[in-house]
């Protein structure tokens, strides 16, 4: 109880309230910019976050995550361009509504349903994460090894890229995690004699390069079409009748989004598409979908924001990222010296309550921001990319250099930009690499410790029921895309 009060008091301090408010506005703005998003913003802010007070730094990342997820809906509705992948499903009904002069109604519904979905999932996070952590408190190295493998197995479902390519990306990330001095023996691995590589590959140059740098090069290759706002942006907000009409849809989608978010590596994009399909299936007027049905906005928006809280459950309780953004947040936590997992719930509960409080506040703040400021924020999407991306590179340079005052890190960022660009053109996603890099150390350490425990006998794993359960779940995770595709073919 004391911890909850301490955490909440921390969040309600004037400084934190201002930080949360500003981070929410910034998150909504960045979410509204196609090509940017929560990952990009957190990644660019990482060098500054890691010198902040740890609780404030992580609250900041969580707030940006929530706000940017909502921000993506603004451009989906107004210019038919999702600001974030999770808002792609919102274009299906949002843009037709905006075209017929109901942009205000659509934006208001997106803000309301996002806020409800987000708040619901944070409440689930508050209840579920400690329970999960209590179970995980009894984990030893074999269980952690199995858990990390389970987390990696879920790479199969990450993003819209190929399962095999996700696994290759994840394994490449694990391989990158072995660069530097071996923790057990002090032997240098893949350092090529460079002292800069002895400490391993830093998260920040890698993440900035793979996400921001590769996007810069993708934008360089893209067309120069300038998006235009819809001409009539009606100011009418959703009515009470609208809210009554969608309450069932929001309830179902919030549940679905939270559940999908909890599954490691599943995220808001999958949740939003599933919720949209469910809303259509449950609707009394499915024929209205595609022409501007308001349930078609409520469903993906409540689901994708619910997925944010859901994704934080395994991230905080087990140290296994629930989504690509939480993988980056997990990286930030590690750099701040906070190792998520069961011990965190025992040792720093006030830290967790501050995160919960920050996320709740963010969901309330963007409700008002969304209702009254969305149309204004939408204009940011009209910033010409010729100026936007030149600035993004400079921010990436400053952020990367500032960690170690090292141009080597900046060159690493540039190199990973090219690697990320080539990967994306060949159908590989950057997120599995980051997840592999984050989980790689856990995999190696827990495997090494387990083998010592079992005196080099692999069959020792079979004497650990929880580890076996996670191995079984990992197998299921690997098989899931194939089972899903077989079921889809049968339909």
């Amino acid at each position: 109880m004391d911890a909850a009060l301490t955490g909440i008091a921390f969040v309600l301090s004037a400084e934190m309230l201002l930080l949360i408010f500003l981070a929410t506005i910034a998150g909504v703005l960045v979410g509204a910019l196609p090509g940017l998003g929560s990952i990009m913003m957190i990644v660019l802010l990482l060098p500054y976050i890691i010198v902040m007070e740890p609780t404030a730094g992580i609250v900041l990342t969580a707030v940006i995550y929530c706000a940017a997820t909502f921000g993506g809906s603004i451009t989906s509705i107004l210019i038919n361009t999702p600001g974030t992948p999770a808002a792609a499903a919102t274009t299906f009904e949002g843009y037709p509504m905006a075209q017929r002069g109901e942009a205000g109604r659509a934006l208001g519904m997106a803000a309301f349903s996002s806020s409800v979905g987000g708040i619901f999932s944070v409440l689930v996070l508050i209840v579920a994460a400690p329970l999960l952590a209590r179970v995980a408190y009894h984990f030893g190295p074999p269980e952690y090894f199995a858990l990390a493998l389970f987390g990696l197995s879920m790479l199969a479902s990450l993003g819209n890229t190929s399962t095999l390519k996700n696994y290759i990306g994840g394994a490449f990330g694990i391989l990158l995690s072995t660069v530097g001095v071996d923790f057990a023996t002090g032997v240098e691995r893949f350092t090529f004699g460079s002292p800069a590589l002895a400490e391993g590959i830093h998260f920040i140059p890698l993440m900035i390069g793979l996400f921001a740098g590769s996007e810069l090069l993708m934008q360089a290759a893209a067309s120069d079409a300038v998006p235009r706002l819809v001409s009539k942006v009606a100011v009418r907000l959703p009515s009470l009748a609208d809210l009554r009409k969608v309450r069932g849809t929001i309830a179902r989608s919030s549940l679905l989004g939270t559940f999908v978010g909890i599954l490691p590596a599943e995220g808001g994009t999958v949740a939003a598409l599933m919720a949209y399909n469910e809303a259509k299936r449950w609707s009394k007027t499915p024929e209205a979908f595609g022409k501007g049905a308001i349930e078609g906005i409520a469903a993906p928006e409540s689901a994708n924001n619910a997925a944010t809280g859901g994704a934080m459950v395994p991230t905080l309780a087990l140290g296994i990222p629930g989504s690509a953004t939480t993988a980056v947040i997990l990286g930030a936590m590690i750099m701040l010296g906070v190792r998520p997992g069961p011990a965190l719930f025992q040792q720093q509960p006030d830290f967790l309550y501050a995160i919960f409080g920050g996320m709740l506040l963010a969901n309330l703040v963007f409700l008002f921001v969304g209702l009254y400021g969305a149309k204004l924020f939408a204009h940011i999407s009209l910033v010409p990319k010729q100026f936007l991306w030149g600035t993004v590179f400079l921010l990436a340079f400053i952020g990367t250099y500032a960690i170690n005052n090292s141009l080597f890190d900046v060159w690493m960022m540039v190199a990973f930009s090219v690697v990320g660009f080539v990967m994306r053109r060949r159908g590989y996603s950057a997120a599995p690499v980051v997840m592999g890099l984050i989980l790689g150390e856990l995999v190696e350490i827990s495997l090494t410790q387990s083998m010592l425990m079992f005196q080099q006998d692999v069959s020792g794993f079979f004497t650990r029921p929880i580890a076996l359960l996670f191995f079984a779940l990992a197998l299921l995770g690997v098989a899931y895309p194939y089972i899903k595709s077989a079921l889809q073919r049968r339909r």
């Binding site: 399962t163 095999l164 072995t178």
Partner: protein, 164 residues
């Protein structure tokens, strides 16, 4: 092996579409494996558990196995929409590379106005007053924010001394 991108249009080529990827990855794996053989030996008294080269070798083996599966899979997933490679990518890389290369000696703010002027021009912008305003204002804004206000240590080069 089926995969999630199998609904992509079938390629008219006879060779598996990801064969080139697969070969490149296998070559990288072979190079990586050879590098693991060059790791320094571990003193006898420290030899317990996995040796330092074993774990990377296992991971390389796993990547190699996936690469082989990729070679024989159908269309293993679609790449993001692939606009044709434009000269702009190369010129952008050349610009940022030159900028980074000169940052240490000349300072990152010294050439920033030039970078800010060239970047939009390379990307097709021709509104000269806008370019001039961008090239003039952004460096000042970033310098004021990061150097003066936040005290971020950045390579100032020729402008050393202005950072306070």
């Amino acid at each position: 092996m089926t995969d999630r991108g199998e609904d992509a249009p079938a390629s008219p080529r006879r060779l598996p579409p990801d064969l080139a990827d697969s070969l490149v990855i296998l070559a990288i794996c072979a190079g990586g494996y050879l590098l693991t053989l060059e790791f320094d030996p571990v003193p006898e008294f420290m030899r317990q558990g996995l040796s330092p080269e074993r774990f990377p070798q296992i991971v390389i083996g796993v990547i190699g196995a996936f690469a082989l599966m990729l070679a024989f899979a159908g269309r293993a997933g679609q790449a993001e929409k692939r606009p044709r490679l434009r000269l702009r990518i190369a010129t952008t890389l050349l610009l940022v590379g030159t900028y980074v290369a000169t940052a240490e000696s000349l300072g990152m703010f010294t050439l920033m106005p030039l970078y800010c002027a060239l970047f939009p021009v390379l990307w097709g912008e021709r509104h000269w007053p806008l370019i001039a305003a961008y090239a003039g204002l952004l460096p000042v804004l970033l310098f004021a924010l990061f150097v003066v206000l936040l005290g971020t240590p950045l390579p100032l080069g020729l402008l050393e001394g202005l950072g306070g």
